[in-house]
Symmetry: C2
Subunit: 461 residues, 2 copies
Amino acid sequence: MYGTKRVIRALHSNAPRFSIATRLQASGLKINSERLWNTLHETCEWGAEHRYGEKPTDTGMARLALNDDDARVRRWFAAEVQKLGCSLSVDQMGNMFARQSGRLNSAAPMIAMGSHLDTQPRGGRYDGILGIMAALEVLRTMKESGFQTDYDVGVVNWTNEEGARFPKSMCSSGVWAGAIPIQQAWDLRDIHDPSVTLRSELERHGYLGGIACSSDPATGYPLGAHFELHIEQGPILPENNKSIGVVRGAQGYRWLTMTVHGRDAHTGTTPFSARQDPLLASSRMIAASHDIAKRHDALASTGIIRVPSNASTNTVSSQVTFTLDIRHPQDSVVHAVQDKCLNAFEAIALQDGKGVSFDWTLDTDSPAVKFDDNCVASIQAAADQLVGREKSMLMTSGAGHDTVYTSKHCPSAMIFVPCRDGVSHHPTEHCSPQDCALGTQALLEAVVHYDQFRVEAEGQN
Amino acid sequence: MYGTKRVIRALHSNAPRFSIATRLQASGLKINSERLWNTLHETCEWGAEHRYGEKPTDTGMARLALNDDDARVRRWFAAEVQKLGCSLSVDQMGNMFARQSGRLNSAAPMIAMGSHLDTQPRGGRYDGILGIMAALEVLRTMKESGFQTDYDVGVVNWTNEEGARFPKSMCSSGVWAGAIPIQQAWDLRDIHDPSVTLRSELERHGYLGGIACSSDPATGYPLGAHFELHIEQGPILPENNKSIGVVRGAQGYRWLTMTVHGRDAHTGTTPFSARQDPLLASSRMIAASHDIAKRHDALASTGIIRVPSNASTNTVSSQVTFTLDIRHPQDSVVHAVQDKCLNAFEAIALQDGKGVSFDWTLDTDSPAVKFDDNCVASIQAAADQLVGREKSMLMTSGAGHDTVYTSKHCPSAMIFVPCRDGVSHHPTEHCSPQDCALGTQALLEAVVHYDQFRVEAEGQN
């Protein structure tokens, strides 16, 4: 989208960075951290659940996509951005695009700050929500100080990012990016009430917009860039004593389901030598996959294991299924770990008794994603300015985010801030007021920085 | 019950056996193998399910305790034994005692041949059923040839041995033996319909008898001895090319439930070093318990493993539970294996990441059982006579049986015959007509032998 010669290449190596970027200027603005904090927690009244402490904010959230509380916060969000003078567009997946005009009055796609307002059923107050509230605070700060970017800037609230109610994560940014057919997304059923679809809930709340859910400029809502502030959801920032994560991409991952076949047998009457025990074999496989991944500095994890529902203490199971989630920032390592695991599993299958057999399916193959160098450089410049190089770190996202999809169709990158003990998707998920404010200021600076870069870069085209 | 000086001690060592027993005589009778086979399969029409082949008998069984089919076969059994001239008594657990008078017209408790007519929901045609049909065939053979034992002999059909519908195995022999309070047994609920209890089903079918379910001669139905023919339910007989198992006891076993506590975490964002992964730890524990048991020539098995219902591919579970079933013919080995497993588990809990914790409960503690030497000697004498010493073997039962409970209150032992591939609790469970007949003939000879021994032994008191 931008001339490759203009890319700030230094990020690829350890050479000095930001030959262009460092010439650009800080905004001179300061976000209102108290307003940010209060707005975030006031709006969390819609969907607050799972109290765990005494303070008013000591609850988690259960604001599932397109439930009544999600509809309430959407209406509030629409009113707030319109108060700021933003135009608001809603596409056919209910994605909300709030847009503030820039100085240039350019028709070019806006620089977006995006995330999501929906939560897990036992989620917290920061995952997704912080990204939207920070974006709103950036617009409020600019508005009150009469600051204008050159290009249009705005906020995107992506629908059903969690995939907790309608089971597909990053569902609407996925449709926008052309990775998920809209009919498939519309047809997703509420996991507890199959009579309700994502589309029927969009219609019920008036969020089935007229614009195509697409990055296509002719029919949809293209973006000039996409920045997302998010809690890290892991322990790397706190463990390294860093306050800003400059996220340059997302890990590759593959999800496999293994099915191990044995033979049911009485545990009291069947000698080990006569058994085909799929649970014993699965146990050895899970341990082996961990050890193999560890040797490759990769991750391999089993979250689900299932024995038949009629399993009993005194019966060797006939079959066991388990999941395997392999991750690494490089696809080649993901593949190598998978190959070594499968080889190890073949040996394990023969190890005990009369042996077992197994088969497997590849359920998800998500190659590694590299974010846009210029977006990353703008975030790094913001971090350098706010906390210095020592308190920020380049990171790869371990989790999926809407930005993974936007990065296919516009320059994109992410900012991480620490969350307490790395805990998320849990009521006690917590990001300190200081970290919320710092992340929001970094988001503002990164957007302003990128806007300046864009003027310079496009001016040179 | 019998003077210990009269016990045939040779079984305890490898010294020559049966100093008394070998002086006793074979019955001279021959069971009718065709009648046995036909009766068994005709009565399996009540409860036949799970067809797996072309032949009429190629089905399994689903004759759960006290369901309508079980009531039908009970009524048929009552009519058959009465045709043979037996008296029939039913106790308060629905246990059915059919009794044929002996020559002595002794009031002493009868020599019983017992087993059960109920099956697993996906059970076979031989487990339990063979024991009852064989006992009936023994009575029919005696009757048609005018043969009388000295003491009374008879058949016992024990209620709800499988514990598949009302979840307690060997439930009614357990009440008879005083090991299970009758109220607890009566209150057992149908696992699929909690409005139905074992007692309500006894009442519905008219099987809530008036006799106390007890071995107490004053109120209950004491037995002079208990012999049970059963399929082996394991591969040891066929693998050793033996046709009769002389069962001298039952393994000790302990059932533990382990609960391993970790912390839920995102598999993409949480480095191994920060995890507390209970499924990884459980996997290592299951593998370790197998390896420890193997070194002790014992058995350790995990039949059930559970992760929380909200487990997902990309979340490290917060908690895992799994069962551990440890068995060995000697209680000291069962205890040693348990101790070594728990020690190993403590080390494993610290092994990965930030470690996990675990606790455990002892759900069942069933010490090893030694059957009566004289009953075992009678079975060995029968086996010697029918197949020779080379084709029989002394065994320890790996599974629980009603005989384990009767052995607490009367001299008891069991006969095993091979079942195909050691498979049981499965529709394809199969015992050949030859092995059914051989087991039945052995049961007849053992009872006749024991009856002679009893006369001799009591005569010398």
